[in-house]
Amino acid sequence: MNNAVINIKDAVVSYREDIALRGVSFSVRAGEFVGIIGPNGAGKTTLLTIVNGLGKLLAGRVWVLGDYLTPGNGHSLRKKVGYVPQAENIDPRMPMNVREVVMIGRYGLLGLLRRPGKRDWKIVDEMLELVGMTHLAQRPIGHLSGGEQQRVAIARCLAQEPELFLLDEPTASLDWKAKTDILELVKLIHNLRRLTTLFVTHDLSSLPIACDRMVLMREGLIWGEGSPEELLTDGNLSQLYDIPVSAVKKRRNEAILV
């Protein structure tokens, strides 16, 4: 594929006895926005972990940003890959403020023994502004709401100046308003920077329809690939989630796609 940034061939990953990926081949072009959906346990998160070098391959090959992934180079690869995990509970008494947390994004790039300088703080402040969190910059991180913490996580990820933007269920456990805001923000960032984006979710209502392409996953395999319109049919979703077509229709009416 021309100007591909990710090229995965027959990847197999296993955690203890469970096989999380059973031979997945998949590639992504520079600047593409790919939505990955599927039920829990489909292997979506595992797919992201082999892209950022945290997952261990049993078989197959992973080529990311010009290099084949080996057990030794995951570390340097991760400096170029931004990763936003699911919202997690942060200790409300954690002695760090929002600005310091965003700065962590630059620590990997800075490397050992170097301290953040003026330029690093400037980038941090710009990212806080982009995600609309400047007014809370000095607030202890644990005092933020779930939606605000995800904005900070996105700012931290962008402060890393990544070449790839990976989001793993970034809107899980957020309320409807916060979820919509985060999806808008991700869309805005993709439009502004044309950053290659992989967006993982199990929840159809939190999938930005700005996706160029969708990948459906089930039981460790890629089950379908294509544009959102051709892929998200009632029949496909009914099979993917193992529910009757009538239930898909009902839920579709309830769900509000952004």
Partner: protein, 281 residues
């Protein structure tokens, strides 16, 4: 109050030991508190105690036994907690009770008087020698030095280990480094504070500092200050009332924690969180 006692060499040694041990233990304590691993620390201290007794029983240097066994316990618990295969609290509980059992087993097997063993149990800061202090000094300098040099890596690892890994920081190495330093600090402080009490001097000053600040650097400094203060006030009370110094040091650190908890601004966390709502109106 007759304070001429502070002119004696043994008392000066004790004051210096309390200073160095207070700083090292309280610095380690910040990791223990912020990384939510008090059980790992408690387990490592008892392992060190058991290792020292093994040394006394078999006739090798108790400090080597203490260091080896506390690192061994960390080597067992670390990966268990790391991989999340077992509930870490459960595995730590099993190892903790095993270590305590071994300690008393070695004590029972030991021939002759048990005074050396009891000293390790209660601590005896007043009998610290020059070489004890040099060892304590070296470990304190290494602990404080590494925290200063690798502050940003440590800060990221403390905040969120998986996230630190994801931005390209060697967070797993940082975690094991922290466990290693914990083992070394416990080992060199064992003789001064005692195997059963050492963990309080690790936990209490940091827990007190945790109540008082939202700034991590300040938390390290406050914690070290409380550690030294606990040692010095404890020594003074030990001398004034003629009671064991390890106990007075630990009780002092607990009192400091209670005072910090009572005056903690963080008790008003709810008020803080509601503030923006009020502003919005």
């Amino acid at each position: 109050m007759d304070l001429s006692i502070f002119g004696y060499q043994f008392m000066q040694n004790a004051i210096l030991s309390a200073f160095l041990g207070g700083i090292a233990c309280a610095t380690i304590g910040v990791f223990v508190v912020l990384m939510h691993m008090p059980f790992i620390g408690v387990c490592m201290s008892h392992a060190a105690f058991a290792g020292a007794l093994l040394g006394l029983w078999l006739g090798f240097n108790p400090l080597i036994g203490a260091f080896a066994l506390s690192l061994l316990s960390a080597a067992i618990i670390g990966p268990l907690a790391d991989r999340g295969q077992l509930n870490p609290e459960t595995s730590v509980g099993v190892i903790f009770s095993l270590m305590l059992g071994l300690a008393f087993l070695f004590m029972g097997l030991m021939p002759g008087t048990k005074s050396g063993a009891l000293e390790l149990l209660w601590g005896s800061i007043l009998t610290n020698t020059r070489s004890d202090i040099i060892l304590l000094g070296v470990v304190t300098v290494v602990v404080v030095g590494l925290v200063t040099i690798f502050y940003k890596e440590i800060q990221a690892t403390i905040f969120h280990r998986d996230m630190a890994l994801a931005v390209g920081i060697p967070a797993t190495l940082a975690l094991y480094g922290i466990l290693f330093l914990t083992g070394a600090t416990i080992t060199v402080s064992l003789r001064s504070i005692g195997g059963l009490l050492i963990f309080s001097l690790i936990l209490n000053p940091a827990a007190a500092a945790y109540q008082l600040t939202y700034n991590m650097k300040r938390m390290f400094l406050l914690s070290a200050g409380f550690g030294v203060l606990s040692g010095w006030i404890g020594l003074l009370f030990s001398y004034l009332f003629n009671i064991p110094s390890g106990a007075t040091i630990v009780v002092t650190s607990s009192v400091i924690f209670m005072i910090a908890a009572i005056f903690s601004p963080k008790r008003k966390v709810k008020g803080w969180q509601q503030k923006p709502l009020v502003e919005a109106k």
